[in-house]
């Protein structure tokens, strides 16, 4: 008898959840939309609680950057903030599908940026864009890849939990960044100010393509990444194996999928993408290696990956939406004095609602008239 109560929603024994044989296609698409709407409602309540006009605040966040008077200024920002989120989230989604939890993308992002910037700073002031920029890209991708290989190899070789190792390495990377920005990479002509030379003003190293439109190489990489990931899952056996390993690990093992290879592939790819995102950020929008050039994209990308349903196209939209909350948050901060942390809460809330609403994708709600004992 009690089993009827166990999973029924708080107190109402008449509502019962039944597992669907197949995840619902409809709710799989509708859940993110419902989650966004719920977040807006509860977000508005949060803003009201903070003493800010709720509707106006939502308008500042979601309307102003897109259609407001100054949208020519904000729209390029959408590319700048969206690109790293999409690139990192694409990499993470590979692993999340296969049950490989890389949550240290922030660290891989930093190390990629350091490696790529290191190449540029070592070659400064040489003028050879054809050589320097590609070398930076390779170094950035490799840095992120190598940093992600640490949890990857430890998991494959020793069975160490990759969640904790990848996260610990974020803190190590932050220490390394601080030491670099204040030490080895510090600008010798910087009058003692912390931070490296400005890479975005060094023509051989800048990742800008068209600064006034927010176009830089990170955007290109994110878009190539979307196409790459889409093709991987639609056409390639490896994409199928990743999905299989996540949904039915035993079946995957029996059908000859090497778990070790998958772990290394997922972690390595996500590390390389995060590294590239970090490099293009540091050589473009951020401009220089400074102690706090990283603003947590590696963590926000986790939300982007889930909000985009771990699907490349979904991630593209989710990345744009999350970038919008960053930009709109800045707008609301300057015009209404909405605290920056409120946007962080808003983003966290979004993931909560998504995970909650997602129950409808996998379970059917049925109203049972009093059960028969």
């Amino acid at each position: 008898m009690h089993n009827l109560y166990d999973n029924s929603i708080a107190g109402a024994a008449m509502i019962k959840l039944e597992k669907r044989p197949q995840p619902s296609q409809f709710w799989s698409l509708a859940a993110p939309i419902v989650a966004v709407m719920l977040t807006m409602i509860f977000g508005a309540a949060l803003f009201a609680a903070l003493g800010k006009p709720p509707i106006e605040a939502l308008g500042k966040i979601f309307w102003e950057p897109l259609f407001g008077e100054f949208n020519f200024f904000y729209l390029p920002q959408l590319l700048i903030k969206g690109a790293p989120l999409v690139a990192i989230a694409l990499g993470l989604s590979l692993g999340f599908k296969a049950g490989v939890w890389n949550i240290g993308a922030e660290g891989q992002y930093i190390i990629g940026a350091l490696c790529g910037a290191g190449v540029a700073l070592a070659l400064y002031p040489m003028e050879a864009r054809w050589l320097i920029f590609p070398a930076m890209l390779i170094a950035g991708a490799f840095g992120g890849f190598a940093w992600a290989m640490i949890p990857g190899l430890l998991r494959v070789k020793f069975g160490t939990n990759e969640i904790l190792v990848s996260l610990m390495l974020v803190y190590v990377a932050e220490q390394l960044l601080a030491s670099m920005a204040l030490g080895l990479m510090k600008n010798p002509d910087g009058f003692g100010f912390p931070g490296s030379r400005n890479l975005s003003q060094y023509s051989s190293a800048s990742s800008w393509i068209d600064q006034s439109n927010g176009m830089h190489w990170g955007v290109v990489i994110a878009l190539i990444g979307v196409i790459f990931a889409y093709t991987l899952f639609a056409k390639h056996i490896l994409g199928f194996q990743i999905k299989l390993a996540g949904q039915a690990p035993r079946a995957a093992a029996f059908s000859g999928v090497s778990p070790a290879r998958l772990v290394l592939f997922c972690l390595g790819t996500s590390g390389a993408l995060a590294g590239l995102a970090g490099l293009t950020e540091v050589a473009g929008p951020a401009g220089l290696v400074s102690i706090d050039f990283n603003v947590g994209y590696g963590f926000t990308a986790i939300i982007v990956a889930f909000l985009g349903r771990l699907h490349p196209v979904g991630i593209l939209f989710a990345g744009a939406l999350m970038a919008l909350t960053y930009i709109g948050g800045d707008v609301a901060q300057s015009s209404l004095g909405l605290p920056g942390a409120a946007i962080q809460v808003f983003q966290g809330m979004l993931l909560f609602f998504l995970l909650g609403v997602d129950v409808l994708t996998n379970y059917r709600v049925s109203m049972k008239q009093g059960s028969v004992a």
């Binding site: 999973n7 430890l154 904790l164 610990m168 803190y171 390394l176 966290g348 997602d358």
Partner: protein, 358 residues
């Protein structure tokens, strides 16, 4: 070699340094023994630290601060519990969401409190015991929360091993289908365990903001919640070993801070540290596990080669950034510990979603 470091003071501050992580870890241990993996410890800790801090400032009483922190942590945990237990969401994803949400919430709540100093929480000079030479100052002259933490660890050990309710909790964690078939309320047990875990994490966070620092800052926990998760793995889900793990970790933190303050060249001691670790693991392998697996040999060999590399690097006389490596050492040490201890012992249903389908 450790000329400027007072071993007595070192040991005394060890217990204080270990307390926040111990509190968070013992809560998570109970949660995981019930079969739930809550990766939101960091989020619950930071929430507890700001809630406790605000309550302590408002009331002027650190004790009320701790109580508020426990409730704050438990409330956050309940959010996680409702999502994972009632709406069957993925535990890893929900735990991450809890951490991201908690960090944002704490930053939002903490805005007016940055740089404010917590009301003082005096040490508790236990009569008689505190007067014992050497042992007195090391063990019996701390603030009361140190002993509250130890009491909780002892209580959890007693609960898990000696009570019927503890047996039920373990049964739920080992095999939720079987426990369900026997008539135990899997979801109810888990929700209670999750809330206990949140309360402990909240206490741990408040200990940081009220006693250890004692002020609030946005990056106050700096990964302590994640380290607590690692210590649960290190402890093989046993309270006794958790105590050991927390104290080893507290010892390392204190040693690192002292080395940093003493300005002792790290490179002088590094080969020794690596060498000692290699020998200790070798001895442990021979005596305790009585077998030398390939993995163990790899680990011992790598530590031995680290020692050689470090002394070689030192002989070359190249520059070495002490501050960087000392600051990074707690995180690197956690990784090393996780690599060495990847033994089994995890509860059978850990991290799996439970849904009573029949």
């Amino acid at each position: 070699m450790f000329g400027s470091i007072d071993p007595l003071l070192l040991l005394a501050s060890l217990m204080v340094a270990a307390t926040p992580i111990m509190l968070a870890a013992i809560g998570e241990l109970v949660v995981e023994r019930s079969g739930v993996l809550n990766l939101g410890v960091e989020g619950m800790m930071i929430t507890g630290s700001i809630v406790g801090f605000i309550a302590a400032i408002m009331t002027g009483s650190p004790w009320l601060g701790f109580i508020a922190a426990a409730f704050g942590g438990a409330a956050m945990a309940l959010l996680f519990g409702m999502l994972t237990q009632l709406l069957m969401s993925n535990q890893v994803a929900t735990g991450l969401a809890l951490t991201l949400f908690g960090l944002g919430l704490a930053a939002l709540m903490g805005q007016g409190y940055l740089g404010v100093k917590a009301p003082s929480f005096p040490d508790w000079d236990i009569p008689l015991l505190g007067d014992i030479p050497i042992i007195g100052p090391i063990v019996f002259q701390h603030d009361p929360m140190v002993y509250v933490g130890l009491t909780i660890v002892a209580g959890v050990w007693f609960f898990l091993n000696k009570t019927r309710a503890g047996l039920v909790l373990r049964a739920v964690g080992e095999n939720h289908e079987a426990a369900h078939a026997l008539g135990y309320h899997v979801v109810r047990v888990r929700l209670l365990a999750i809330m206990f875990g949140g309360a402990c994490a909240g206490l741990g966070g408040a200990y940081l903001s009220i006693v250890r620092v004692p002020t609030y800052a946005d990056s106050l926990t700096a990964g302590a919640g994640w380290i607590a998760l690692a210590i649960v793995v290190f402890a093989s889900w046993k309270p006794g070993r958790l105590l050991l793990g927390a104290y080893i970790f507290g010892g390392m933190t204190v040693l690192q801070l002292n080395l940093q303050a003493a300005g002792l060249p790290l490179l002088d001691v590094l080969p020794w540290i690596f060498g000692v670790i290699a020998v200790l693991i070798l001895i442990w392998g021979i005596t305790v596990s009585r077998s030398l697996s390939n993995n163990l040999i790899t680990i011992v060999a790598s530590f031995a080669s680290f020692a050689v590399l470090a002394s070689g690097y030192r002989a070359l006389g190249w520059s070495f950034n002490d501050q960087l490596w000392l600051s990074a050492s707690p995180y690197i040490a956690t990784i090393v510990v996780l690599v060495i201890i990847s033994a089994g012992g995890a509860p059978g249903s850990l991290g799996k979603t439970f849904h009573a389908s029949r």
